[in-house]
């Protein structure tokens, strides 16, 4: 291996290794019950992100200078059944992954610094930073993934840490409830991704994205799949992306994610996490060119999401929901751009949007002051207050549209009523059958444990 190659390999390891190290240190110290001080945790996060960032910038420079547009770092096959299955770990640095990984480091690093002061003296400080480091690791792994298995690993880490961060305030009932909702949506999206992996293995024998997308360097790749094969894989990936990016019909999770502390909602749902689906589509964008119907599906889903989010966002009355739907509007547009066959346009759009939105989220609590300043500068703000609508004809439609937007497009209701409820009913029926069966076998009536009321609490002083 040439010197440059070796150096790239080491730098690449550093990019992935530094967040991994941060995760291990904060995770293991929590596991063994050793509480790191706020200062240590902050410093650890800072250096891990700075190392990762510098290494990825160095790789970018080397690639620019050397003219290389594709650097792959293979960590070998971790499991192998000859001719049937490889499980290989591979990271790829190319024109797509390098900007995205740099973005991830910059935003999560800034938010890490923000959070270290914002979360000062919060009892869950260490928990927050453990989850934060898992999230950063997940983002980096997903961004650089060269095989679908690696991608899935990063994807899962992001999903897990996100759901746990949403339910960060466990002492109230709403955050865990909303965290569970998000986790469920993520599982659907994970299942789609997993199915896509299975189909890929079936089609090309392994999970290497490079093989799937054929020879060439992103975005000039030429996949060797037939159109209907591409449609199948593509649709599965589209479902995966829709879940992760909150596209229709999964959009309802986005405002629910605001239960966590402000920095986590800012970076995770407003800026990074929500773009991960778009990133996935961008990664497999050469696939889209193979199937017109697939491209059409992507464009339509993107546009529908953008329009939906625009209407819903315009009636939200709390700043975080308003911003999250504003985010979603742009994600929808980005997805549509991908579907239209653009490569660099959506990438630039994505990067710019992530930065802009993070700034807005971080400043969200300043809204009052900002409005005060604006009002002082220009008098009473336009379009605040009354909107006269007559409840006839067109007015009726506008009222209906308002209600529809206020209810967030009824998406959650539809999902709950027509997907979740039937699902739960089926499972409950199975449970009843099983109970009857066990009762029959044991020859007893309904079991004792079913009658004891659960008590949540511990032996403690009555307060």
């Amino acid at each position: 291996m040439s010197n440059v190659g070796q150096m790239l390999f080491l730098l690449g390891l550093l990019v992935v290794g530094s967040p991994l190290l941060m995760t291990c240190v904060s995770g293991i110290s929590s596991l063994v019950g050793y509480r790191l001080s706020e200062e240590t945790t902050t410093r650890l996060g800072f250096w891990a992100v700075v190392c990762g960032l510098l290494a990825s910038v160095a790789i970018l420079l080397i690639m620019l200078v050397g003219g290389s547009r594709h650097v792959a770092i293979e960590l070998g096959h971790w499991a192998e059944i000859p001719h049937l299955y490889h499980f290989s770990v591979k990271f790829v640095f190319d024109r797509l992954s390098v900007p995205f990984v740099i973005l991830s480091f910059v935003l999560s690093g800034t938010i890490g610094a923000f959070a270290s002061r914002y979360m000062h003296r919060e009892p869950g400080f260490n928990r927050f930073f453990s989850l934060y480091s898992i999230f950063v690791l997940g983002m980096v792994v997903a961004a650089l993934a060269g095989t679908i298995e690696t991608l899935f690993a990063g994807w899962e880490l992001v999903g897990l840490s996100s759901a746990l961060l949403v339910s960060f305030y466990q002492e109230r009932s709403a955050p865990p409830r909303n965290g569970l909702w998000i986790w469920t949506v993520y599982r659907v999206s994970d299942a789609a991704l997993l199915l896509a992996a299975v189909v890929m293995h079936h089609l090309i024998g392994e999970g290497d994205l490079g093989l799937l997308l054929g020879s060439g360097v992103w975005p000039e790749e030429y996949p060797k799949l037939a159109s209907d094969e591409a449609l199948l894989v593509g649709l599965l990936l589209l479902v995966a992306a829709a879940g992760k990016s909150g596209l229709v019909p999964f959009s309802g999770w986005l405002p629910r994610a605001m239960e966590g502390p402000t920095p986590s909602s800012a970076v995770f749902y407003g800026a990074l996490s929500v773009h991960l689906g778009a990133f996935l589509l961008l990664r497999v964008s050469p696939l889209l060119e193979l199937s017109t119907s697939l491209s059409a599906a992507v464009v339509i889903l993107g546009l529908v999401t953008a329009i939906f989010a625009h209407f819903v966002g315009s009636v939200q009355t709390d700043i975080k929901s308003a911003l999250s739907f504003a985010s979603l509007t742009q994600v929808g547009v980005i997805v549509a751009e991908i579907g239209l066959g653009f490569h660099y346009l959506p990438l630039i759009h994505l990067l710019g949007h992530a930065c802009l939105r993070t700034l807005q989220f971080v400043r969200a609590p300043s809204l009052l002051q900002d409005y005060g300043t604006l009002e002082n500068a220009i008098g009473k703000l336009p379009d605040v207050g009354e909107r006269h609508v007559r409840p006839t004809g067109m007015g009726r439609f506008r009222i209906w549209l308002y209600r529809w937007s206020l209810e967030r497009g009824l998406l959650d209701s539809l999902l709950r009523e027509y997907v979740a409820s039937p699902f739960v009913r089926v499972l409950r029926a199975c449970d009843r059958m099983e109970r009857r069966w066990t009762d029959l076998l044991s020859g007893r009536g309904p079991q004792e444990r079913d009658r004891v009321q659960p008590h949540f609490g511990e032996i403690e002083e009555l307060t």
């Binding site: 910059v106 939200q316 009355t317 509007t329 300043s366 009222i399 008590h455 403690e460 002083e461």
Partner: protein
């Protein structure tokens, strides 16, 4: 689905005419509405007593009642009080003293073998008394060391006595079966069950080898025997305390019976709708039909087809149509819902309160806005709360029917639901044997009562013991702890005042300059440092609006804002004008501001829409990284750059207040434009009389208003001046200075006998308590003769800002204790500009005292930023104490309001306060929610009250006890708060310097506890290196340490003489 409409059943209310019924109903709603939080829009945060609605009742009764109604804690958790007992914050002898005082005559009554009632209660206080449900206790005694080891809290002596006594008793009485029985007194024989059970225990332990049992075996046996005796003793006792309050609303009953919460469904919808209805401009599209009111808008918006597919809402459009067809008014609709739910008139009060409190934050905000429509940009019509209630009950009915159907298969009419559940669940369960036995079991160990002693108790005695234990329940114990907690601080403060104040420090004959600050407790340290830095200064404390109640609009502001206490409605408007000559420049800058503002607004809105959002994000989005990184990593630098750039559009420096009324004053309903000379004179005279500054004027008089400014902080207004209605008080100070400088005002004052000499010059200033800067106004008005003095004063104040920042920094855990003055100043500057800072300043946290009297009484006393200090000179007041009454009427609501809001937000931060600030989300520009859909959170966030000690403010007033008693009798508001114990009260006699404490309606002389006051050479010397609350001390250079005051000593007599 259950039937929504009851078949017109014969309710007892049917006999009453409908008109009367409706009147009665609206009274009930009015009553319920009083319980809602009274916090207005968060932009004008005004501190008030969280339990204002309960002020007519004594404090402890009120908080207990409120605890039940709101489901919140009235005191801190016991564990925290016990921690305080460990650390010395609560003194054990004071705990005993408080308990004894509370029990009075009943303290010494004996309680079976437990000693006196006092002993029993003290044992219950001293060590934690644990409890839990029966199943868990059974597990606990089976699986843990509870029956093997004596509780660790028990002292070694008590433990060995307990074991030794049990041992003797076992050897003597229990062993050997039959003959033991005859030795017991005859009346014990009626519990042979216990003896049999104990014998069985004995044989299980191996009776044969009893002589060779180890110590552990004996300990184990003792505890097992004790546990069995306790269980048997309480087994057949009836229920002694009243059953716990039952559920009120149908939702509560269903929740208890099925675990399904109907409010989850209703609240989600109602929060969205109410927020949209109240929105002040977050949403780009306002609610259509908002003008028609809550009720009509809801009907029109939710009555349309193609609504929610959710099962519980399917009946909604039909129900709305029915209501429309029957032309029910909101109030009639409430009545209709109540009838359908089967709620009779006698439970309306309770039921409606509970219903409104289910979403108390939003309901309260609706109430606040409908009653104070002038505080918001988009008002709502009055009567909105009733409309809200009507919709709430309608949705409640739908949700209840749905939950009852799905979770209980209940198909009857809703009116019968509660009875059905009551029948199914049976009567409430009394406390189980294990729960009661475990309490006695723990107490017996602490008190060293052997199984033998307990075994000899009669059933009647068991009942007595149990009754005592249950009477002195958890809340009662916390109350006693709390009293002791307050007592410590009160003792410390009264000792400090009693010892210190007789040593009258007469001020310099003619002070170099005088400073009037706000009475705010944050200015205590400011004044103290100022007096340390320049000893020839004299300081005063006045309510921070300086007696000028006005609507004010700055040169770069769009709206007038009221600058006065919330109880006052201003009658004057004051505008800041750009001085002639700068007008063109000012106009230009205003235009630029307007253009920039429009652009920012467009940008803000644009970033949220499809088209321009795409252009923005794609085009320049990446540039956002620069401000993002700069503002987060280098907040101070970023702020400086921002300010430099912003200076271009700031109004010119030279501005004037348009104070005086012009001839063309034609809109008196919004207040007069400016004051007449006479009105100005009135205000000036009143201020000077209030603070007792009627003679000995220095050449320079500084008036310092205060406020606070911090970024990313929705609670910014709560840090501002309370006396200025949650705004910054700079303009008031500036205006009052201008008034005092006016020669016509001086002439008029002179005519009224208040001589303000020509040589005195007043200067207004503004103290930013967050970044610790002081800005002076109208410097060009200072005559050259006073320049040098002013500059000297300015230098002193600059030094004071450094020191004050330094003292504040000791409380910030993220500020190192090693900071220098200059570094501390930088630190607080950074805090104000830091987006990530959740504690820009600590606000009123730790406030505990309110001292009203001459500054000489407290000058040189380190009060740790815990005391509101209002100046009042009893020697210059008349016999009716007119001035004192006036001062108290301004000070009481403000200081007690702040104190009590902090109290309640601290004792139950989740219930009364607003929880942690971190997940807060600004909603409708009116308040904050947790996450994206919660109730509006009222009260103070955890970050503001974190270091606060919840104690009721101790008012120390320099006046005669008899005068204070008259005031308590005469002024209803003040009297109510004092008599009902919402504040603690003491007076300092102006002549004898004696402190008396108000207790049970009379003033009792205070017994000084401490011998001396600690002494420090300077404030820094005293607080350096400490983070915690500090003792009060005397700060003086080389002065004699203050000693306990002896009235016979000649020194103090001269003091008294000098005063009189």
């Amino acid at each position: 689905m259950p039937r929504l409409h009851s078949t017109d059943s014969q309710t007892p209310d049917a006999a009453i005419p409908r008109g009367n019924l409706l009147r009665r109903l609206s009274e009930s709603i009015e009553h319920a509405a009083h319980l809602l939080p009274a916090q207005g829009p968060i932009t004008v945060f005004i501190h008030h007593n969280t339990l204002h609605a309960f002020e007519h009742r004594p404090f402890h009764e009120a908080v207990n009642q409120a605890a039940q109604i709101f489901g919140c804690h009235p005191y801190l958790p016991k564990a925290q009080y016990r921690e305080a007992l460990q650390s010395g914050r609560i003194r054990f002898d004071e705990l005993k003293q408080v308990l004894k005082r509370d029990l009075g005559q009943r303290a010494d009554e004996p309680i079976a073998c437990f000693g006196s009632r006092f002993d029993l209660y003290l044992a219950m206080l001293q060590d934690p008394l644990r409890s839990g449900p029966a199943e868990e206790l059974l597990w606990f005694v089976a699986e843990t060391d509870a029956l093997r080891r004596v509780r660790p809290e028990v002292s070694a002596a008590v433990r060995s006595r307990l074991i030794a006594e049990t041992r003797r008793w076992t050897m003597r009485d229990l062993r050997g079966g039959g003959e033991a029985e005859s030795r017991h007194p005859p009346e014990i024989r009626n519990s042979p069950g216990t003896l049999t059970s104990l014998r069985e225990l004995l044989s299980r332990f191996g009776e044969a080898t009893i002589e060779s049992w180890s110590d552990e075996t004996w300990e184990c046996f003792t505890l097992q025997a004790l546990w069995r005796v306790c269980c048997d003793g309480v087994r057949d006792l009836p229920s002694l305390s009243p059953p716990p309050a039952t559920a009120v609303r149908h939702r509560d009953w269903l929740l208890q019976a099925t675990g399904e919460d109907g409010d989850l469904l209703v609240n989600a919808l109602l929060i969205r709708f109410t927020a949209a209805f109240l929105d002040q401009g977050v949403a780009q599209a306002a609610m259509p039909l908002r003008k028609e009111g809550f009720y009509r808008a809801f009907s029109s918006i939710y009555g349309q087809p193609l609504g929610s597919p959710e099962r519980w809402l399917r009946g909604l459009p039909a129900e709305l149509r029915r209501i429309e067809a029957e032309r029910l008014s909101p109030l009639e609709s409430v009545l209709d819902s109540l009838e359908q739910l089967g709620v009779h008139a006698d439970e309306w009060d309770e039921f409606l309160s509970a219903t409104l409190l289910a979403l108390r934050g939003w309901g309260g905000m609706l109430r606040q806005i409908e009653t104070h429509s002038d505080r918001v940009v988009v008002p709502v019509p009055s009567g909105s709360l009733v409309e809200f209630l009507a919709i709430r009950l309608l949705l409640d009915r739908l949700a209840t029917a749905h939950v009852a159907h799905t979770a209980m298969r209940f198909e009857g009419c809703l009116g019968e639901l509660r009875d059905t559940i009551r029948r199914r669940s049976g009567c409430p369960r009394p406390p189980s044997v294990e729960e009661r036995a475990f309490l006695v079991f723990q107490l017996a160990q602490v008190l060293g009562l052997s199984p033998d002693a307990l075994h000899r108790l009669q059933p009647g005695e068991w009942a007595e013991v149990m009754r005592e234990i249950e009477t002195f329940g958890s809340l009662e114990r916390r109350r006693i702890f709390h009293l002791a907690y307050e007592q410590r601080l009160a003792t410390a403060a009264l000792d400090a005042i009693s010892i210190y104040s007789p040593q009258h420090k007469s001020p310099a004959p003619l002070p170099a300059f005088q400073v009037v600050c706000c009475l705010d407790e944050r200015e205590e340290s400011f004044r103290r440092h100022l007096e340390e830095v320049s000893p020839q200064v004299e300081t005063f404390g006045a309510a921070g609006f300086f007696g000028l109640a006005m609507y004010y609009r700055g040169a770069n502001e769009a709206h007038f804002r009221p600058l006065c206490p919330i109880t006052v409605r201003p009658r004057h408007r004051v505008v800041e004008d750009v001085t002639p000559g700068d007008e063109v420049d000012g106009e230009l800058r205003a235009k630029t501001r307007r253009l920039l503002g429009m652009a920012t607004h467009r940008l803000h809105r644009g970033s949220r829409s499809v088209g321009s959002g795409t252009l923005l994000a794609g085009g320049v989005g990446v540039l956002a990284t620069f401000p993002l990184v700069a503002r987060i990593l280098f907040p101070r630098l970023a702020a400086r750059i921002r300010k430099t750039l912003g200076r271009v559009v700031q109004p010119p420096r030279n501005t004037r207040l348009r104070l005086e009324r012009r001839a063309d004053d034609s809109a008196p309903e919004n207040g007069h434009a400016g004051f007449t000379v006479e009105e100005m004179t009135d205000a000036a005279e009143r201020l000077l009389h209030d603070i007792g500054l009627t003679a000995d004027f220095a050449r320079l008089l500084l008036l310092v208003g205060h406020g606070s400014n911090s970024l990313n902080n929705p609670y910014n207004s709560a840090y501002n001046c309370g006396a200025c209605g949650g705004s910054a008080g700079g303009p008031n100070a500036r205006a009052m200075a201008a008034v005092l400088n006016d020669p016509r005002v001086r002439a008029a004052l002179n005519a009224r006998g208040l001589e303000l000499p020509q040589r005195t010059v007043a200067v207004g200033a503004y103290h930013n308590t967050c970044n610790e800067t002081v800005t002076f106004f109208d410097l060009d008005e200072i005559p050259s003769s006073h320049r040098a003095e002013f500059e000297q004063a300015q230098r002193a104040i600059e030094a004071v800002c450094d020191r004050n920042a330094h003292e504040r920094c000791r409380r910030f855990m993220s500020a190192p204790l090693t900071l220098t003055f200059a570094e501390a100043r930088e630190h607080v500057e950074e805090r104000a500009e830091d987006l990530a800072q959740t504690r820009p300043e600590l606000g009123h946290a730790t406030n505990a005292l309110t001292i009203i009297g001459r500054r000489e009484r407290t000058r040189g006393l380190f009060l740790d930023r815990r005391a509101f200090l209002a100046s009042y000179d009893p020697t210059r007041d008349d016999a009716e104490c007119t001035v004192l009454v006036r001062v108290l009427q301004a000070v009481f609501p403000v200081c007690a309001g702040i104190n009590l809001e902090y109290y309640f937000s601290k004792v139950d931060n989740f219930g009364f306060g607003s929880g942690s600030k971190l997940p807060h989300n600004l909603a409708a520009m009116l308040g904050v929610m947790d996450g994206a859909a919660s109730d509006l959170r009222t009260g103070l966030p955890w970050q503001m009250v974190e270091i606060h000690e919840p104690v009721r403010s101790l008012f120390i007033i320099e006046t005669r006890p008899e005068d204070m008693l008259t005031i308590i009798d005469r002024c209803e508001g003040i009297g109510r708060m004092c008599r009902n114990g919402w504040v603690q009260l003491a007076v300092l006699h102006p002549e004898t310097q004696r402190v008396s404490v108000f207790r049970g309606g009379v003033f009792e002389p205070y017994e000084v506890q401490a011998e001396t006051l600690p002494r420090a050479t300077s404030s820094v010397d005293w607080y350096r290196g400490c983070r915690d609350h500090l003792e009060f001390c005397q700060v003086a250079n080389g002065a004699e340490p203050a000693r306990r005051f002896e009235p016979s000593s000649p020194r103090s007599q001269t003091v008294g003489a000098a005063d009189a």
